[in-house]
Subunit: 132 residues, 4 copies
DNA sequence: GTGGTCTAGACCACC
DNA sequence: GTGGTCTAGACCACG
């Protein structure tokens, strides 16, 4: 598991954790039944307060992605993968739609928005490729 | 001027107002020298707290998009259009890049992201076309 | 609203708050659209830390009983009453069944359990009547 | 001995073990002087951590229900039966009262609580009858 | 004023 | 060791 937390993301830290864990489950990086690192370990690794990680765990429990095993740790729920795939889809779809919506409403033509998207995609791919 | 405010947008209401006014100036819907409606009128129209509109005005002054004319109201600055065109570009670019970035980091392939984008674009166009 | 919090209840404080608010909505003591007291006020009244109340609010949001109105407070969701009536039913049913189950499994005859229940009911009614 | 452990009971596993052993002694299923299975065997049978069983044994010793016989195991104390009958009474009474109390405080009428109880009783009897 | 987030540190029960 | 709860206090954005 390799998480990147950006405190200035607009999104709360705990929510970034939630998303990234859901993405990891959706990708199969985390498989149902597997135990995730302890709250304390995650907190240390991400350089955030354990309570902040705990807040994310609360949400992931409510979303039935993780379940606590008393005294042992947090495990990925059976059936979480399907759930997370759907969540990823909707999280990203919602964000993409909002973004496109704003672009169009700003007066840009669809073609112009598409150009910007392609440029953003190239930039992101380059950054990702370069980062590896 | 036709603004759409969405309280559950993630973006603060005042920031949505700032963006939409900048977009309107960029588009030429608002032209330099033109007066914009009073804070009270805007607040009533958008169904938000006058303080919220005030907060947006404050930002727009700082960005030199609007200037207060004593006793008369707020006017679009001369030269604001160029400024707003640049702002629009960077605001949208930044948001697009962040969105694409998250999509890629979630594990989706670029091609898959492009599909989602195209679908979002269609949806948004349909909504825009239908709404008019 | 008149809440009774018992720190030694076995149930976490935040969960007692959740239950009592759900019960109040179910009873119609809190009606949809109504604002509930602020987190700080509730905390002061219940003599607990504001964060503890906040934890309850998180849960109530997740359960779609309350919704935050930015900068204004927490409001009872439309449709929350039906939800809360169902919740109350299932919360109490689950607890009653578990209790009865344990009693039967302890070897007591059904008739004997019923006697104990009736005595408990009388006791509780007397306590409630006396308390008023 | 036939124990049913439910990890999601709210009650700690070790406490469920304590209760069920006390109930068994109260019922005469376990008689004074009788040896109970070893911690290891019980742990395997109940599918729980041996430490958890150990924690229960510790409590049962403190309550003078079991006594360790050096090198041989744990035996039911002489006179434990009377103790356990009283314990069962008070454990169940306390739990029933707390349950009824919450039901009444939620706003339900006594008659309504009685109906729920009767339904719970039927359900539990059916489950017990069906399970045998 | 409101809710929301985060940190720090303590304590608990459980396995 | 684990997760869960609670307190205390700070800071932020929003209206």
């Amino acid at each position: 598991m390799q998480f990147r937390i950006d405190p200035d993301n607009g999104l709360a830290i705990w929510e970034q954790i939630v998303r990234q864990i859901k993405y990891a489950v959706a990708e199969g990086v985390l498989v149902p039944g597997e135990m995730i690192p302890s709250v304390r370990d995650l907190a240390r690794e991400l350089m955030v307060n354990p309570n902040t990680v705990q807040r994310a765990m609360q949400q992931l429990q409510a979303d039935e992605v993780l379940e606590p095993l008393r005294g042992r740790g947090m495990a990925v729920c059976t059936g979480a993968r399907k759930q997370c795939l759907a969540d990823r889809q909707s999280l990203l779809r919602q964000r993409l739609e909002a973004t496109v919506d704003e672009a169009l409403q700003s007066g840009l033509a669809a073609e112009r928005v598409r150009e910007m998207f392609e440029r953003a995609l190239e930039t992101a791919l380059r950054r990702k490729g370069g980062g590896e």
